[in-house]
């Protein structure tokens, strides 16, 4: 979503645990951390000494003309410049150090998340939204990052500044410090008031803006439909409502939010007024030198700044904790179970699949495959038919062990598939799916993806067989053309041909075709039939198809409906039975 102000996240549930884990990431770089602390300390200390030095200089100037002690003034001025320069230098080094430190942590976190992600079972991806996973690896980790690099330092700086200024002011004039007995409670009260009052308002602002964004996305995407039904007015009315809500929420947040600046300013001014008044009195009674008063004024400015900052930092830390918790929750997701210790790695596969009494459901208690028996001899063709969303893909999920059955057994070449390493089991299949998957890379890389060290000649050979070579050759960069999601003029059908070429390059003995040619137009489909046949020859094939004509010669046809296998048999058997399949087949021609 474009540039939505960050939402205020929910409070983390077990903050302590999260903090300990965050600390463990940091602890790996403990020397960095120690150095950073030292630097913070010294650079702030140097900066704190500045006002004292300027006070001394002003004292050396004195109040009377002609009485200036130049040597002392110059001495303190030079000292001031040296101190300030050192302080700036240190704080720059510190920033650089912190950037290195936080980037190291962030790098490690992203690696950990991605590493875990690639080991998670398919179930995880089927049940979580892509946007959510992506936001954890980008947005959430960024939040942690921002908090690490800014807030930690801010806290250290604030503590040192507040403590140091207080100490300095106490040394300068204890009675004058009493001024803060008035202003600090005001600050604290104000901060608490603001956080309680304003935070929900800001949250509401983000929510309303998010809703507006969602509405706009929805309507603009569907603008053709709106036009076709001439409903522009209706949409504008609805938009106005959303718009009003959004600007109102913004105003409400602003109404209180815009108090912050003036109020902080007021507290500062109040301190200044009180200090001036009492300082002048003290000066009058000879309890305070002019230079000390000046130092005191400068310290007081330093002192009240961070107190207001702290409220912000605390809320930022809270959101960082919540973000870190989301990241850790992903890292803690259980992976696919390990292969059995004595799992075999099959080198050559005949392709004999036997399913016996397989029972399976995605959710416990909702069984969708009750008792599936299937014997697919090497080189046979098994077709799975049924309406969209009927659960045809479930069988594929079980074959490739993306999911494990609840009971029953699946054997490959009479090895139960649980006793085979996942790697060798999955490599025994070549597959072409309906959702073509191509990644950001060259056409060559995309076709050669499944076969290590494939040569250009091999790739060209399969591209020719898949009838996509001519198209590729006509591209200015040929096989080095980089595929990207938006720019290229590549159709769904062409994408599917590329994935067919990819499957052709694998020397697997079993083949899964899940609506492999659904987006290829009929004429091209006829043209690549030859290649498809060559691809299927001698392999055990599992084919999911919409068009019944393509699978009439299958050895076994499974008819699936509502996730259940309703019928099983050859085309002739099923037509004779006159059941669901026969009905589906006939309805094609009605």
């Amino acid at each position: 979503m474009p540039n939505v102000p960050r939402t205020v996240p929910e409070k983390p549930k077990n903050r302590k645990k999260v903090l300990t884990r965050l600390w463990r990431y940091l602890y790996q770089y403990k020397w960095h951390l120690l150095a950073a602390l030292l630097l913070t300390f010294s650079s702030n200390l140097l900066a704190l000494i500045g006002p004292t030095l300027s006070g001394r200089a002003i004292d050396a100037i004195g109040v009377k003309a002609g009485g200036v002690d130049f040597q002392t003034v110059i001495f303190y001025c030079i000292l001031m410049i040296i101190f300030y320069a050192l302080s700036s230098l240190l704080s720059y080094i510190l920033s650089v150090l912190m950037i290195h430190l936080s980037q190291k942590v962030v790098y490690q976190m992203r690696e950990d998340v991605f590493h875990r992600l690639s080991l998670l079972p398919i179930r995880y991806f089927d049940s979580h939204q892509t946007g959510d996973i992506v936001s954890r690896i980008s947005y959430d980790i960024d939040t942690v990052n921002a908090s690490l690099s800014n807030d930690l330092l801010q806290i250290a700086t604030s503590v040192i500044t507040v403590g140091g200024s207080l100490l300095m002011m106490l040394m300068l004039s204890p009675p004058l410090v009493l001024v803060f007995a008035v202003t600090i409670p005001i600050s604290i009260f104000f901060t608490r008031y603001m956080t309680q009052k304003v935070r929900p308002l800001f949250r509401n602002r983000s929510i309303k803006l998010g809703e507006l964004n969602g509405f706009v996305e929805e309507v603009i995407t569907g603008q053709k439909t709106t036009k076709a039904y001439h409903q522009e007015e209706t949409m504008i009315r609805r938009f106005d409502r959303k718009n009003k809500e959004a600007v109102d929420a913004y105003y409400n947040a602003d109404y209180y939010g815009s108090m912050t600046g003036p109020c902080v300013n007021f507290i500062n001014n109040l301190s200044l007024a009180l200090i001036s008044m009492f300082g002048a009195l003290l000066f009058l009674f000879g309890k305070l030198s002019l230079g000390n008063l000046s130092s005191f004024v400068l310290y007081s400015r330093k002192f009240s700044g961070p107190i207001n900052e702290i409220a912000n930092i605390i809320s930022e830390l809270q959101s960082a904790c919540a973000a870190a918790e989301r990241v850790f929750r992903l890292i803690d997701e259980p992976t696919e179970p390990e292969d059995m210790p004595d799992a075999v790695s099959l080198d050559s596969v005949h392709g004999h699949i036997a399913m016996e009494h397989v029972k399976f459901g995605y959710d416990p208690g909702k069984t969708i495959i009750h008792d599936l028996n299937l014997d697919a001899r090497p080189g046979s063709l098994v077709a799975i038919v049924g309406p969209t969303g009927a659960g045809k893909t479930t069988i594929i999920n079980l074959l490739m062990r993306f999911y494990d059955p609840d009971s029953g057994s699946i054997c490959l070449d009479s090895h139960p598939i649980q006793t085979i390493t996942r790697k060798s089991l999955r490599l025994a299949y070549a597959m072409v799916l309906q959702d073509t998957w191509l990644f950001h890379g060259t056409i060559f890389e995309n076709i050669a993806y499944g076969k290590k060290g494939a040569t250009l000649d091999e790739v060209i050979a399969v591209a020719k067989a898949a009838k996509i070579h001519d198209y590729i050759r006509r591209l200015p960069e040929g096989y080095d053309t980089i595929l990207n999601e938006d720019g290229m003029n590549i159709s769904q059908g062409q994408k599917q041909l590329l994935t067919i070429a990819r499957a052709m390059l694998l020397d697997a003995n079993m083949l899964i075709l899940d609506e492999a040619t659904s987006n290829v137009d009929t004429r091209t489909e006829i043209q690549i039939q030859e290649a498809m046949r060559a691809l299927m020859r001698g392999k055990t094939c599992f084919v999911i198809a919409h068009r019944l004509s393509t699978i009439q010669n299958a050895d076994t046809i499974l008819v699936v409906q509502n996730g259940e296998i309703m019928e099983q048999g050859s085309h002739q058997d099923l037509m004779l039975r006159g059941g669901l399949y026969a009905g589906l087949y006939r309805s094609q021609f009605q």
């Binding site: 110059i74 650089v96 290195h100 209706t234 007024a273 998957w437 993806y449």
Partner: protein, 571 residues
């Protein structure tokens, strides 16, 4: 920016009042250090406690006045920003709603979206901030300089010497830094893309055991992001320490020069003290002004993007073209069209339909089927030829009248986050009866009734909580509900199984017999009963006739039929 000023115009009196109040508040802020210096240099030597208390009281009053006026002014500014933004957004959305499809294609949908959201949001922020800081910062800066000049001209010059340095620094660093952040954003984009790719392709990756390969690929992207972020961060990190350094050097110089001046009797130490406070104020004002510049440049970029849309001239004007009486309901004559005005998307299309007839259009992906529909509905203007409805050229029919003739389901059409009834009704206030009748005919009633809350079931955005087939049935119901003269189904039964598809066709024949229907399909079975079938290839008409005629005359049609229906070619 001029567009924005036009929107601000009605609020000028209110804004002026707000700015005036702000002005007073700012002056109060400026008075404080001046009073401090006056107290030390003039009041204290008089040694009268009551006077000190008096002036201290004045300072307190000034502080209170400052906080009240500033808050009031800020709220007025927020009010103006709120109303301006609301108006701008309304106009922008209205304009976008009436853009022609071609104009939308030119802008692109994501770009329009971000103009409506991010850009108006930037404007909102800018209008508020400019009113708050636009007065305050310059006054603090100028006023600060002015007061210091009256206090002590020579010391002021010392101070003024530092300011350009700070300005230069901020300018130089941000000029270097901002492109670096652009780079970083690209790096992050490619990281996110890698993650998305992996999630989308998880089955393929696992099937081919490429997990390790993907992990390495991610590491590279990750390293690149870290490298860019470090570079940008380290560059920008220069600003603060350097700025502090400049400021503090200036401060030291004030004291040093001040020492000479005091020695020569030209100034008093109280003034130096006040100076130090003004210095902080001036520096903060400088910071605000740099922030305003960033804000302004962001805002004016957004403003010009918004202006671009608002100033787009209306397209597809209604032309006064005389019609001719005709017995055809829909008529295409020698129609040619191309999107980019280079290669023809459609070339020389001809057909005629009588009222109540059905036309089937079939052809490969990208052959121009959907374009033909868009031309008929005048979402685009054809380049040459004639398109007529009831003898009237479509260009001469007002859009409202034209579009209410149609009920249409586009390829990949959308459902909105609303109830099922509202999605079928789609703002036309058709009444429950019409909605239910349409749902029944579209074969959707059965599954709707099975839902716990029936027609008031809420759909999620894009209808992700219903299956593909259910979605298509709802869309068809929407198209039928208005009892259209012309029904268009563009590849909108692809997710229906054969049985539902044939039930739908039967219902259409019996209940919507007077409706002229155009069906675009990939499946022969969806169109083989049509009165006319148009076969398209690469935008050209390569066959026109009935199923039986085409089997005789059109080779490609025959090939497709054989491949989809086996040898059984009888209808």
């Amino acid at each position: 920016m001029r567009t924005i000023f036009r929107y601000l115009k009605p609020y000028v009196p209110r804004m002026s009042l707000g700015l005036f109040i702000k002005f007073i508040g700012t002056i109060m802020d400026l008075l404080l250090p001046w009073i401090l210096s006056y107290m030390i240099d003039d009041v204290v030597p008089q040694e009268r406690i009551s006077l000190i208390l008096l002036w201290g009281g004045v300072m307190l009053l000034c502080s209170a006045a400052a906080v009240i006026t500033n808050i009031v002014a800020n709220r007025m500014a927020s009010w103006v920003a709120q109303h301006t933004t609301e108006a701008i957004r309304h106009d922008l959305f209205t304009r976008i709603s009436y853009l022609s499809c071609k104009q939308i294609d030119d802008f692109t949908i994501p770009s329009l979206e971000s103009r409506l959201t991010t850009d108006t949001y930037n404007l909102h922020q800018m209008i508020g901030m400019m009113q708050r800081l636009g007065v305050r910062a310059p006054i603090l800066l100028l006023g600060g300089i002015l007061v210091t000049l009256t206090l002590e001209p020579v010391l002021s010059l010392v101070l003024l010497a530092v300011l350009p340095l700070i300005g230069l620094l901020v300018f130089a660093v941000s000029r270097k830094g901002i492109p670096l952040y652009g780079n970083l954003q690209q790096g992050i984009d490619s990281m996110v893309r890698t993650v998305r790719e992996n999630i989308a392709g998880i089955r393929v990756i696992k099937a081919l055991s490429k997990t390790e390969y993907e992990q390495n690929r991610f590491s590279h992207v990750n390293e690149e992001v870290v490298r860019r972020e470090k570079k940008a961060g380290i560059t920008m990190a220069l600003t603060n320490p350097l700025m502090n350094l400049f400021l503090n050097i200036g401060l030291t110089m004030v004291i040093l020069v001040g020492a000479w001046r005091v020695n020569a009797g030209l100034t008093q130490p109280g003034k130096i003290l006040a100076f130090l406070t003004y210095f902080t104020i001036i520096l903060n004002a400088m910071l605000s002004i740099t922030r305003m510049f960033v804000m302004y440049s962001k805002g004016s970029a957004s403003a010009s993007r918004i202006h671009e849309v608002l100033s787009t001239p209306a397209d597809l004007a209604v032309l006064e073209v005389p019609g001719a009486a005709s017995d055809s309901h829909i008529e295409f004559q020698h129609v040619c069209f191309s999107y980019q005005k280079k290669e023809d998307t459609l070339y020389d299309i001809n057909f005629r339909l009588k009222r109540g007839e059905t036309l089937g259009i079939i052809g490969a992906t990208g052959c121009g089927k959907s374009t033909l529909i868009a031309l008929l509905m005048r979402l685009y203007d054809r380049d040459s030829g004639e398109i007529r409805i009831d003898g009237q050229p479509v260009e001469s029919i007002p859009p409202h009248e034209l579009h209410t003739k149609f009920g249409v389901v586009f390829q990949n059409d959308v459902l909105f986050a609303d109830t099922i009834a509202a999605n079928i009704d789609f703002g036309r206030e058709l009444g429950q009866e019409a909605i239910e009748k349409a749902a029944a005919c579209a074969q959707a009633k059965e599954f709707i009734d099975a839902l716990p809350d029936g027609f008031s079931h809420r759909l999620t955005a894009k209808g992700t909580n219903v299956s593909g087939g259910q979605k298509q049935r709802l869309l068809i119901a929407r198209a039928l509900a208005g009892n259209p003269e012309i029904l268009i189904l563009d590849d909108s039964s692809s997710a229906l199984d054969y049985k539902t598809d044939s039930l739908l066709r039967r219902a259409l024949r019996s209940q919507y017999a007077k409706t002229t229907t155009i069906i675009v399909a990939q499946r022969i079975s969806s169109i083989l009963h049509a009165d006319h079938i148009l076969v398209l290839e690469d935008g050209k008409e390569i066959g026109y006739g009935t199923h039986e005629e085409l089997l005789e005359t059109c080779n490609i049609y025959r090939e497709i039929s054989i491949s989809q229906m086996g040898g059984d070619l009888s209808a």
